[in-house]
Protein backbone atom coordinates (compact mmCIF):
# COMPACT_ATOMS: atom_id res chain seq x y z
CA UNK A 1 0.00 0.00 0.00
CA UNK A 2 1.16 3.50 -0.76
CA UNK A 3 1.84 5.61 2.35
CA UNK A 4 0.79 8.64 0.34
CA UNK A 5 -2.76 7.59 1.17
CA UNK A 6 -2.16 8.85 4.71
CA UNK A 7 -1.46 12.39 3.49
CA UNK A 8 -4.31 12.29 0.99
CA UNK A 9 -6.64 11.03 3.69
CA UNK A 10 -5.59 13.67 6.21
CA UNK A 11 -6.14 16.40 3.68
CA UNK A 12 -9.57 15.20 2.59
CA UNK A 13 -10.37 14.47 6.22
CA UNK A 14 -9.55 18.04 7.25
CA UNK A 15 -12.14 19.41 4.88
CA UNK A 16 -14.71 16.82 5.87
CA UNK A 17 -14.01 17.39 9.57
CA UNK A 18 -14.40 21.16 9.35
CA UNK A 19 -17.64 20.78 7.45
CA UNK A 20 -18.87 18.15 9.90
CA UNK A 21 -18.21 20.47 12.85
CA UNK A 22 -20.71 22.98 11.55
CA UNK A 23 -23.17 20.20 10.80
CA UNK A 24 -22.84 18.62 14.23
CA UNK A 25 -23.29 21.98 15.96
CA UNK A 26 -26.44 22.90 14.08
CA UNK A 27 -27.66 19.35 14.54
CA UNK A 28 -27.23 19.42 18.31
CA UNK A 29 -28.50 22.95 18.88
CA UNK A 30 -31.21 23.34 16.25
CA UNK A 31 -32.03 19.64 16.47
CA UNK A 32 -32.34 18.77 12.83
CA UNK A 33 -30.20 17.16 10.16
CA UNK A 34 -29.46 20.07 7.87
CA UNK A 35 -29.21 18.95 4.26
CA UNK A 36 -28.22 22.44 3.12
CA UNK A 37 -24.95 22.29 5.01
CA UNK A 38 -23.05 20.79 2.10
CA UNK A 39 -24.27 23.62 -0.08
CA UNK A 40 -22.96 26.14 2.43
CA UNK A 41 -19.50 24.75 1.63
CA UNK A 42 -20.03 25.23 -2.08
CA UNK A 43 -21.54 28.69 -1.63
CA UNK A 44 -18.66 29.61 0.67
CA UNK A 45 -16.18 28.64 -2.02
CA UNK A 46 -17.98 30.52 -4.78
CA UNK A 47 -18.59 33.61 -2.65
CA UNK A 48 -14.93 33.68 -1.67
CA UNK A 49 -13.96 33.28 -5.30
CA UNK A 50 -16.19 36.20 -6.21
CA UNK A 51 -14.73 38.40 -3.48
CA UNK A 52 -11.23 37.39 -4.61
CA UNK A 53 -12.14 38.40 -8.14
CA UNK A 54 -13.33 41.80 -6.97
CA UNK A 55 -10.24 42.29 -4.82
CA UNK A 56 -8.00 41.21 -7.71
CA UNK A 57 -9.73 43.82 -9.86
CA UNK A 58 -9.04 46.49 -7.25
CA UNK A 59 -5.40 45.65 -6.63
CA UNK A 60 -3.70 43.34 -9.07
CA UNK A 61 -0.77 42.63 -6.73
CA UNK A 62 -3.06 40.72 -4.36
CA UNK A 63 -3.29 37.81 -6.74
CA UNK A 64 0.45 37.19 -7.04
CA UNK A 65 1.37 33.92 -5.26
CA UNK A 66 3.27 34.31 -2.01
CA UNK A 67 6.03 31.72 -1.74
CA UNK A 68 5.69 28.83 -0.93
CA UNK A 69 1.92 28.86 -1.50
CA UNK A 70 0.01 28.83 -4.75
CA UNK A 71 -2.08 31.87 -3.83
CA UNK A 72 -1.51 35.48 -2.88
CA UNK A 73 -2.63 37.74 -0.06
CA UNK A 74 -5.89 38.22 -1.86
CA UNK A 75 -7.18 34.80 -0.87
CA UNK A 76 -7.01 35.11 2.92
CA UNK A 77 -8.59 38.55 2.56
CA UNK A 78 -11.25 37.15 0.30
CA UNK A 79 -11.96 34.38 2.80
CA UNK A 80 -12.94 37.03 5.33
CA UNK A 81 -15.44 38.43 2.87
CA UNK A 82 -16.58 34.95 1.87
CA UNK A 83 -17.18 33.98 5.49
CA UNK A 84 -19.20 37.14 6.08
CA UNK A 85 -21.33 36.48 3.01
CA UNK A 86 -21.83 32.80 3.85
CA UNK A 87 -22.89 33.79 7.35
CA UNK A 88 -25.34 36.27 5.85
CA UNK A 89 -26.69 33.53 3.57
CA UNK A 90 -27.29 31.09 6.41
CA UNK A 91 -28.80 33.69 8.72
CA UNK A 92 -31.05 34.82 5.88
CA UNK A 93 -32.14 31.25 5.17
CA UNK A 94 -32.80 30.70 8.86
CA UNK A 95 -34.89 33.83 9.01
CA UNK A 96 -37.08 33.15 5.98
CA UNK A 97 -37.38 29.39 6.39
CA UNK A 98 -36.16 27.48 9.42
CA UNK A 99 -37.05 30.04 12.05
CA UNK A 100 -40.60 30.29 10.76
CA UNK A 101 -40.99 26.54 10.90
CA UNK A 102 -39.51 26.42 14.40
CA UNK A 103 -41.85 29.16 15.56
CA UNK A 104 -44.81 27.20 14.24
CA UNK A 105 -43.63 24.21 16.25
CA UNK A 106 -43.22 22.08 13.14
CA UNK A 107 -41.77 18.62 13.65
CA UNK A 108 -38.07 18.06 13.17
CA UNK A 109 -38.69 16.07 10.06
CA UNK A 110 -40.58 18.91 8.37
CA UNK A 111 -37.58 21.14 8.97
CA UNK A 112 -35.31 18.43 7.56
CA UNK A 113 -37.52 18.32 4.49
CA UNK A 114 -37.42 22.07 4.09
CA UNK A 115 -33.63 21.91 4.31
CA UNK A 116 -33.69 19.28 1.58
CA UNK A 117 -35.75 21.51 -0.68
CA UNK A 118 -33.60 24.53 0.09
CA UNK A 119 -30.48 22.50 -0.61
CA UNK A 120 -31.70 21.60 -4.10
CA UNK A 121 -32.61 25.21 -4.80
CA UNK A 122 -29.31 26.60 -3.51
CA UNK A 123 -27.22 24.15 -5.47
CA UNK A 124 -29.08 24.70 -8.69
CA UNK A 125 -28.87 28.43 -8.21
CA UNK A 126 -25.10 28.09 -8.02
CA UNK A 127 -25.16 26.10 -11.21
CA UNK A 128 -27.27 28.75 -12.87
CA UNK A 129 -25.04 31.62 -11.79
CA UNK A 130 -21.64 30.03 -12.25
CA UNK A 131 -22.42 27.14 -14.65
CA UNK A 132 -21.38 23.56 -13.97
CA UNK A 133 -17.87 24.13 -15.25
CA UNK A 134 -15.22 23.73 -12.53
CA UNK A 135 -13.25 26.82 -11.54
CA UNK A 136 -10.06 27.30 -9.57
CA UNK A 137 -8.67 29.75 -7.04
CA UNK A 138 -5.29 29.72 -8.68
CA UNK A 139 -3.58 28.55 -11.81
CA UNK A 140 -0.19 28.34 -10.17
CA UNK A 141 1.27 24.84 -10.16
CA UNK A 142 2.77 23.51 -7.00
CA UNK A 143 5.37 20.80 -6.63
CA UNK A 144 4.70 18.30 -3.87
CA UNK A 145 7.69 18.17 -1.57
CA UNK A 146 8.88 14.87 -0.10
CA UNK A 147 8.14 14.48 3.61
CA UNK A 148 9.93 11.17 4.13
CA UNK A 149 8.55 7.62 4.32
CA UNK A 150 7.44 7.91 0.73
CA UNK A 151 4.95 10.69 1.44
CA UNK A 152 4.67 14.00 -0.37
CA UNK A 153 2.61 17.10 0.15
CA UNK A 154 2.39 20.58 -1.31
CA UNK A 155 2.79 23.62 0.97
CA UNK A 156 -0.90 24.39 0.38
CA UNK A 157 -1.86 20.98 1.68
CA UNK A 158 0.30 21.28 4.78
CA UNK A 159 -1.16 24.70 5.46
CA UNK A 160 -4.68 23.27 5.23
CA UNK A 161 -3.87 20.56 7.76
CA UNK A 162 -2.23 23.05 10.13
CA UNK A 163 -5.02 25.61 9.83
CA UNK A 164 -7.64 22.95 10.45
CA UNK A 165 -5.88 21.80 13.61
CA UNK A 166 -5.72 25.38 14.88
CA UNK A 167 -9.36 26.10 14.17
CA UNK A 168 -10.59 22.90 15.76
CA UNK A 169 -8.54 23.59 18.87
CA UNK A 170 -9.82 27.14 19.07
CA UNK A 171 -13.40 26.11 18.61
CA UNK A 172 -13.10 23.32 21.13
CA UNK A 173 -11.75 25.74 23.73
CA UNK A 174 -14.52 28.19 22.91
CA UNK A 175 -17.23 25.61 23.43
CA UNK A 176 -15.75 24.05 26.56
CA UNK A 177 -14.53 27.19 28.33
CA UNK A 178 -16.37 30.33 27.27
CA UNK A 179 -19.73 31.60 28.43
CA UNK A 180 -20.97 31.36 24.84
CA UNK A 181 -19.92 27.73 24.67
CA UNK A 182 -21.60 27.00 27.97
CA UNK A 183 -24.81 28.54 26.68
CA UNK A 184 -24.53 26.48 23.51
CA UNK A 185 -24.17 23.27 25.45
CA UNK A 186 -27.09 24.26 27.64
CA UNK A 187 -29.34 24.93 24.63
CA UNK A 188 -28.30 21.65 23.06
CA UNK A 189 -29.39 19.77 26.17
CA UNK A 190 -32.67 21.60 26.80
CA UNK A 191 -33.60 24.85 25.02
CA UNK A 192 -36.64 25.49 27.22
CA UNK A 193 -34.62 25.22 30.41
CA UNK A 194 -31.89 27.39 28.94
CA UNK A 195 -34.45 30.16 28.55
CA UNK A 196 -35.47 29.70 32.19
CA UNK A 197 -31.81 30.08 33.17
CA UNK A 198 -31.82 33.39 31.32
CA UNK A 199 -30.08 32.28 28.13
CA UNK A 200 -31.25 34.06 24.98
CA UNK A 201 -31.84 30.96 22.88
CA UNK A 202 -32.34 32.92 19.65
CA UNK A 203 -28.92 34.47 20.10
CA UNK A 204 -27.32 31.08 20.70
CA UNK A 205 -28.98 29.85 17.51
CA UNK A 206 -27.49 32.78 15.62
CA UNK A 207 -24.03 32.11 17.05
CA UNK A 208 -24.37 28.50 16.00
CA UNK A 209 -25.24 29.43 12.44
CA UNK A 210 -22.35 31.88 12.37
CA UNK A 211 -19.83 29.29 13.52
CA UNK A 212 -21.28 26.61 11.26
CA UNK A 213 -21.33 28.88 8.22
CA UNK A 214 -17.82 30.18 8.90
CA UNK A 215 -16.41 26.68 9.17
CA UNK A 216 -18.35 25.59 6.10
CA UNK A 217 -16.99 28.48 4.05
CA UNK A 218 -13.42 27.78 5.10
CA UNK A 219 -13.85 24.07 4.41
CA UNK A 220 -15.28 24.91 1.00
CA UNK A 221 -12.37 27.19 0.20
CA UNK A 222 -9.92 24.48 1.27
CA UNK A 223 -11.63 21.93 -0.94
CA UNK A 224 -11.65 24.45 -3.76
CA UNK A 225 -7.99 25.26 -3.30
CA UNK A 226 -6.86 21.65 -3.20
CA UNK A 227 -9.20 20.20 -5.79
CA UNK A 228 -11.61 22.47 -7.65
CA UNK A 229 -14.79 24.47 -7.19
CA UNK A 230 -17.99 22.98 -8.59
CA UNK A 231 -21.66 23.62 -7.78
CA UNK A 232 -21.99 19.99 -6.71
CA UNK A 233 -18.91 19.94 -4.48
CA UNK A 234 -20.98 20.43 -1.34
CA UNK A 235 -23.58 17.91 -2.32
CA UNK A 236 -20.91 15.31 -2.94
CA UNK A 237 -19.53 16.02 0.53
CA UNK A 238 -22.90 15.78 2.26
CA UNK A 239 -22.83 12.06 2.97
CA UNK A 240 -19.22 12.18 4.27
CA UNK A 241 -20.23 15.12 6.48
CA UNK A 242 -23.21 13.29 7.96
CA UNK A 243 -21.21 10.11 8.40
CA UNK A 244 -18.43 12.04 10.16
CA UNK A 245 -20.85 13.87 12.45
CA UNK A 246 -22.66 10.68 13.41
CA UNK A 247 -19.45 8.69 13.75
CA UNK A 248 -18.03 11.33 16.08
CA UNK A 249 -21.24 11.61 18.07
CA UNK A 250 -23.75 14.40 17.42
CA UNK A 251 -22.71 17.58 19.19
CA UNK A 252 -19.07 16.65 19.72
CA UNK A 253 -16.55 18.91 18.00
CA UNK A 254 -13.51 16.67 18.51
CA UNK A 255 -15.75 13.79 17.47
CA UNK A 256 -16.71 15.45 14.20
CA UNK A 257 -13.08 16.22 13.44
CA UNK A 258 -11.95 12.70 14.28
CA UNK A 259 -14.88 11.31 12.29
CA UNK A 260 -13.83 13.47 9.34
CA UNK A 261 -10.27 12.22 9.51
CA UNK A 262 -11.37 8.60 9.79
CA UNK A 263 -13.58 9.00 6.75
CA UNK A 264 -10.92 10.86 4.80
CA UNK A 265 -8.34 8.16 5.55
CA UNK A 266 -10.76 5.31 4.82
CA UNK A 267 -11.62 6.90 1.48
CA UNK A 268 -7.97 7.35 0.60
CA UNK A 269 -7.14 3.73 1.40
CA UNK A 270 -10.28 2.44 -0.29
CA UNK A 271 -9.34 4.33 -3.45
CA UNK A 272 -6.06 2.43 -3.49
CA UNK A 273 -7.60 -0.93 -2.75
CA UNK A 274 -10.89 -1.05 -4.61
CA UNK A 275 -10.64 1.90 -6.94
CA UNK A 276 -11.63 5.55 -7.07
CA UNK A 277 -15.06 4.87 -8.55
CA UNK A 278 -16.26 3.49 -5.19
CA UNK A 279 -14.98 6.37 -3.09
CA UNK A 280 -18.42 7.83 -2.43
CA UNK A 281 -19.67 4.52 -1.03
CA UNK A 282 -17.15 4.51 1.83
CA UNK A 283 -19.03 7.04 3.96
CA UNK A 284 -22.19 5.05 3.47
CA UNK A 285 -20.54 1.85 4.62
CA UNK A 286 -19.08 3.61 7.66
CA UNK A 287 -22.46 5.18 8.42
CA UNK A 288 -24.17 1.79 8.34
CA UNK A 289 -21.51 0.22 10.54
CA UNK A 290 -21.82 3.04 13.09
CA UNK A 291 -25.61 2.82 13.14
CA UNK A 292 -25.38 -0.93 13.70
CA UNK A 293 -22.66 -1.00 16.33
CA UNK A 294 -22.66 2.35 18.10
CA UNK A 295 -25.46 4.65 16.99
CA UNK A 296 -24.48 7.29 19.54
CA UNK A 297 -21.08 7.60 17.87
CA UNK A 298 -17.60 7.69 19.37
CA UNK A 299 -18.11 10.60 21.78
CA UNK A 300 -21.88 10.70 21.85
CA UNK A 301 -24.25 10.01 24.66
CA UNK A 302 -26.55 7.04 24.60
CA UNK A 303 -30.17 7.62 23.53
CA UNK A 304 -29.28 10.86 21.76
Amino acid sequence: MNPQAIIDGLIAGSTIGLGAIGLTLTYSILRFANFTHGDFLAWGAYLTLTVAGVLGGLAAGLGAPVYPFSFGWGLPLAVLGGVALTVALTLGLDRILFRKLRARGADTIIIVMASFGASMALRSLLEFIFTAKPVYFTNALQIAKPLGLGMRATPDQLMVIGLTALMVLGLHLLVTHSATGRAMRAVSENPGLAGVYGVDVAKVVRVTWIIGAGMACIAGVMAGLLVQIRPYMGFDLLLPLFAAAILGGIGSIPGAMLGGLIIGLSEAFAVQIIGAEWRAAISFVILVIVLMLRPQGLFGRKEA
Binding site: R182, R185, A186, L193, A194, G195, V196, Y197, G198, V201
Partner: protein, 243 residues
Protein backbone atom coordinates in the same frame (compact mmCIF):
# COMPACT_ATOMS: atom_id res chain seq x y z
CA UNK B 1 -47.73 46.14 46.37
CA UNK B 2 -48.52 43.34 43.98
CA UNK B 3 -45.77 41.12 42.68
CA UNK B 4 -47.70 38.96 40.25
CA UNK B 5 -51.17 39.30 38.75
CA UNK B 6 -53.03 36.88 36.50
CA UNK B 7 -56.18 38.11 34.80
CA UNK B 8 -58.34 35.54 33.07
CA UNK B 9 -55.30 33.69 31.80
CA UNK B 10 -55.84 31.01 29.17
CA UNK B 11 -52.95 28.85 28.13
CA UNK B 12 -52.08 25.40 26.83
CA UNK B 13 -50.52 23.48 23.98
CA UNK B 14 -53.28 23.80 21.41
CA UNK B 15 -55.37 26.98 20.98
CA UNK B 16 -58.49 24.86 20.51
CA UNK B 17 -57.97 23.01 23.77
CA UNK B 18 -56.72 25.39 26.45
CA UNK B 19 -55.54 23.63 29.60
CA UNK B 20 -55.65 26.75 31.78
CA UNK B 21 -59.17 28.05 31.28
CA UNK B 22 -59.30 31.59 32.60
CA UNK B 23 -57.48 31.97 35.91
CA UNK B 24 -57.21 35.23 37.89
CA UNK B 25 -55.35 35.93 41.11
CA UNK B 26 -52.95 38.39 42.65
CA UNK B 27 -49.88 37.72 44.74
CA UNK B 28 -48.49 40.52 46.91
CA UNK B 29 -44.82 41.26 47.34
CA UNK B 30 -43.18 38.96 49.85
CA UNK B 31 -46.24 36.71 50.05
CA UNK B 32 -46.01 32.92 49.83
CA UNK B 33 -48.82 31.13 48.02
CA UNK B 34 -49.32 27.50 47.35
CA UNK B 35 -51.11 26.06 44.33
CA UNK B 36 -52.86 22.78 44.97
CA UNK B 37 -54.96 20.58 42.80
CA UNK B 38 -55.42 17.06 41.47
CA UNK B 39 -53.05 15.57 38.94
CA UNK B 40 -53.60 16.91 35.48
CA UNK B 41 -55.45 19.99 36.70
CA UNK B 42 -53.05 22.22 34.77
CA UNK B 43 -50.86 23.48 37.60
CA UNK B 44 -47.62 22.88 35.75
CA UNK B 45 -49.07 24.28 32.54
CA UNK B 46 -50.16 27.46 34.32
CA UNK B 47 -46.84 28.06 36.01
CA UNK B 48 -45.01 27.38 32.74
CA UNK B 49 -47.26 29.85 30.97
CA UNK B 50 -46.32 32.47 33.54
CA UNK B 51 -42.65 31.61 32.99
CA UNK B 52 -42.98 31.98 29.20
CA UNK B 53 -42.63 28.29 28.33
CA UNK B 54 -46.21 27.60 27.27
CA UNK B 55 -48.18 29.84 24.91
CA UNK B 56 -50.89 32.05 26.38
CA UNK B 57 -54.09 32.30 24.33
CA UNK B 58 -55.86 34.98 26.31
CA UNK B 59 -55.77 37.08 29.44
CA UNK B 60 -52.81 38.74 31.05
CA UNK B 61 -49.82 38.15 33.26
CA UNK B 62 -48.42 41.17 35.09
CA UNK B 63 -45.19 41.46 36.98
CA UNK B 64 -45.67 44.36 39.36
CA UNK B 65 -47.21 46.93 37.06
CA UNK B 66 -45.66 45.59 33.85
CA UNK B 67 -47.48 43.30 31.47
CA UNK B 68 -45.36 40.30 30.58
CA UNK B 69 -47.86 37.98 28.84
CA UNK B 70 -46.06 35.79 26.35
CA UNK B 71 -42.67 37.31 27.07
CA UNK B 72 -39.83 34.91 26.24
CA UNK B 73 -38.56 33.07 29.27
CA UNK B 74 -35.06 34.58 29.21
CA UNK B 75 -36.50 38.10 29.41
CA UNK B 76 -38.69 37.08 32.32
CA UNK B 77 -35.60 35.71 34.02
CA UNK B 78 -33.95 39.08 33.48
CA UNK B 79 -36.99 40.78 34.94
CA UNK B 80 -36.75 38.94 38.21
CA UNK B 81 -38.76 35.77 37.70
CA UNK B 82 -37.07 32.64 38.97
CA UNK B 83 -38.64 29.35 37.95
CA UNK B 84 -37.76 25.81 38.90
CA UNK B 85 -39.58 23.31 36.66
CA UNK B 86 -40.91 20.08 38.05
CA UNK B 87 -38.66 17.80 36.04
CA UNK B 88 -35.55 18.35 33.95
CA UNK B 89 -34.70 21.40 35.96
CA UNK B 90 -30.91 21.27 35.74
CA UNK B 91 -28.45 20.66 32.89
CA UNK B 92 -27.20 17.17 33.59
CA UNK B 93 -24.45 17.33 30.99
CA UNK B 94 -22.94 20.45 32.52
CA UNK B 95 -21.00 20.54 35.77
CA UNK B 96 -22.53 21.89 38.96
CA UNK B 97 -20.51 25.06 38.76
CA UNK B 98 -21.39 25.55 35.09
CA UNK B 99 -25.06 25.34 35.96
CA UNK B 100 -24.53 28.18 38.39
CA UNK B 101 -22.30 30.13 36.01
CA UNK B 102 -24.95 30.14 33.28
CA UNK B 103 -27.50 31.63 35.63
CA UNK B 104 -24.89 34.10 36.93
CA UNK B 105 -24.57 35.59 33.44
CA UNK B 106 -27.68 37.59 34.28
CA UNK B 107 -25.80 39.50 36.98
CA UNK B 108 -23.28 42.27 36.46
CA UNK B 109 -19.84 40.74 36.08
CA UNK B 110 -18.30 41.80 39.42
CA UNK B 111 -21.17 40.24 41.37
CA UNK B 112 -21.00 36.82 39.78
CA UNK B 113 -18.28 35.11 41.86
CA UNK B 114 -19.79 36.42 45.09
CA UNK B 115 -23.24 35.09 44.30
CA UNK B 116 -21.93 31.72 43.23
CA UNK B 117 -19.95 31.51 46.46
CA UNK B 118 -23.05 32.44 48.42
CA UNK B 119 -25.02 29.62 46.83
CA UNK B 120 -22.28 27.09 47.48
CA UNK B 121 -22.26 28.23 51.11
CA UNK B 122 -26.00 27.83 51.31
CA UNK B 123 -25.90 24.32 49.82
CA UNK B 124 -22.78 22.59 51.15
CA UNK B 125 -23.67 19.40 49.22
CA UNK B 126 -22.97 21.26 46.00
CA UNK B 127 -19.77 22.84 47.23
CA UNK B 128 -18.18 19.43 47.82
CA UNK B 129 -17.58 18.63 44.14
CA UNK B 130 -18.46 21.67 42.04
CA UNK B 131 -16.78 20.36 38.86
CA UNK B 132 -18.72 17.12 38.80
CA UNK B 133 -21.41 16.66 36.15
CA UNK B 134 -24.78 17.63 37.54
CA UNK B 135 -26.15 14.39 36.10
CA UNK B 136 -24.27 12.52 38.81
CA UNK B 137 -26.23 14.20 41.61
CA UNK B 138 -28.90 12.42 43.64
CA UNK B 139 -32.54 13.47 43.40
CA UNK B 140 -32.35 15.67 46.48
CA UNK B 141 -29.10 17.27 45.41
CA UNK B 142 -30.60 18.03 42.01
CA UNK B 143 -33.43 19.93 43.65
CA UNK B 144 -30.81 21.80 45.68
CA UNK B 145 -28.93 22.75 42.55
CA UNK B 146 -32.13 23.79 40.82
CA UNK B 147 -33.09 25.98 43.77
CA UNK B 148 -29.57 27.38 44.09
CA UNK B 149 -29.55 28.32 40.42
CA UNK B 150 -32.90 30.09 40.73
CA UNK B 151 -31.91 31.90 43.90
CA UNK B 152 -28.53 32.94 42.62
CA UNK B 153 -29.92 35.87 40.69
CA UNK B 154 -32.00 37.04 43.67
CA UNK B 155 -35.35 36.93 41.85
CA UNK B 156 -38.28 38.96 43.10
CA UNK B 157 -40.70 36.15 42.34
CA UNK B 158 -39.64 32.55 42.76
CA UNK B 159 -41.89 29.85 41.34
CA UNK B 160 -41.30 26.19 42.09
CA UNK B 161 -43.14 23.24 40.58
CA UNK B 162 -43.40 20.40 43.08
CA UNK B 163 -39.92 20.73 44.58
CA UNK B 164 -40.53 17.83 46.94
CA UNK B 165 -41.73 15.31 44.36
CA UNK B 166 -39.91 12.02 44.63
CA UNK B 167 -37.88 12.99 47.68
CA UNK B 168 -37.65 11.09 50.96
CA UNK B 169 -39.54 12.59 53.91
CA UNK B 170 -36.28 13.76 55.46
CA UNK B 171 -35.31 15.61 52.29
CA UNK B 172 -38.77 17.07 51.98
CA UNK B 173 -38.23 18.56 55.41
CA UNK B 174 -34.93 20.04 54.27
CA UNK B 175 -36.40 21.49 51.10
CA UNK B 176 -39.21 23.20 52.99
CA UNK B 177 -36.82 24.45 55.62
CA UNK B 178 -34.83 26.07 52.82
CA UNK B 179 -37.98 27.51 51.27
CA UNK B 180 -38.98 29.00 54.61
CA UNK B 181 -35.60 30.73 54.87
CA UNK B 182 -35.99 32.05 51.34
CA UNK B 183 -39.49 33.28 52.02
CA UNK B 184 -38.28 35.01 55.18
CA UNK B 185 -35.87 37.09 53.11
CA UNK B 186 -38.86 38.72 51.42
CA UNK B 187 -38.91 36.80 48.14
CA UNK B 188 -42.38 36.29 46.69
CA UNK B 189 -42.96 32.56 46.55
CA UNK B 190 -45.34 30.66 44.27
CA UNK B 191 -45.26 26.99 45.06
CA UNK B 192 -47.03 24.15 43.28
CA UNK B 193 -47.24 21.24 45.63
CA UNK B 194 -48.90 17.85 45.92
CA UNK B 195 -47.58 17.42 49.44
CA UNK B 196 -50.46 19.38 50.97
CA UNK B 197 -49.34 19.04 54.57
CA UNK B 198 -45.83 20.36 53.97
CA UNK B 199 -47.06 23.16 51.76
CA UNK B 200 -49.69 24.34 54.18
CA UNK B 201 -47.09 24.58 56.90
CA UNK B 202 -45.20 27.06 54.77
CA UNK B 203 -47.85 29.28 53.23
CA UNK B 204 -50.83 31.16 54.49
CA UNK B 205 -52.75 31.23 51.29
CA UNK B 206 -53.71 28.45 48.92
CA UNK B 207 -55.08 28.44 45.41
CA UNK B 208 -56.80 25.25 44.36
CA UNK B 209 -56.82 24.58 40.65
CA UNK B 210 -59.33 22.04 39.34
CA UNK B 211 -59.67 21.30 35.64
CA UNK B 212 -57.93 24.51 34.61
CA UNK B 213 -60.03 26.80 36.82
CA UNK B 214 -59.57 28.21 40.30
CA UNK B 215 -61.80 26.34 42.74
CA UNK B 216 -60.58 28.07 45.88
CA UNK B 217 -58.47 31.08 46.75
CA UNK B 218 -58.07 31.86 50.40
CA UNK B 219 -56.35 31.28 53.67
CA UNK B 220 -54.94 27.84 54.27
CA UNK B 221 -56.62 27.14 57.58
CA UNK B 222 -59.84 25.87 56.01
CA UNK B 223 -57.80 23.43 54.00
CA UNK B 224 -56.45 21.78 57.14
CA UNK B 225 -59.84 20.19 57.21
CA UNK B 226 -59.18 17.23 54.93
CA UNK B 227 -62.83 16.96 54.01
CA UNK B 228 -62.97 20.39 52.41
CA UNK B 229 -60.01 19.61 50.21
CA UNK B 230 -61.42 16.22 49.39
CA UNK B 231 -64.65 17.81 48.24
CA UNK B 232 -62.83 20.24 46.03
CA UNK B 233 -60.83 17.48 44.40
CA UNK B 234 -63.78 15.10 44.29
CA UNK B 235 -66.03 17.71 42.83
CA UNK B 236 -63.71 17.67 39.90
CA UNK B 237 -63.74 13.89 39.67
CA UNK B 238 -67.51 13.77 39.74
CA UNK B 239 -67.66 16.36 36.99
CA UNK B 240 -65.26 14.39 34.91
CA UNK B 241 -67.15 11.14 35.37
CA UNK B 242 -70.29 12.85 34.19
CA UNK B 243 -68.73 13.96 30.93
Amino acid sequence: MTALTLSDLQAGYDPDLPIVKGVSFTVSKGEAVCILGPNGAGKSTMIKAIAGLVPCFGGQVQLGETEVTGMPSHLLARNGVGFVPQTENIFTRLSIIENLQIAAQLLPKPERPRRIEAMLDMFPDLAARPRELAGALSGGQRQMLAAARALLTEPEVLMLDEPSAGLSPKLVGQVFETLRRISDTGVTLVLVEQNVRAALALTHRALVLVDGKLAHDGPTDVLHDGRFLGELFLGHRAAEAGR
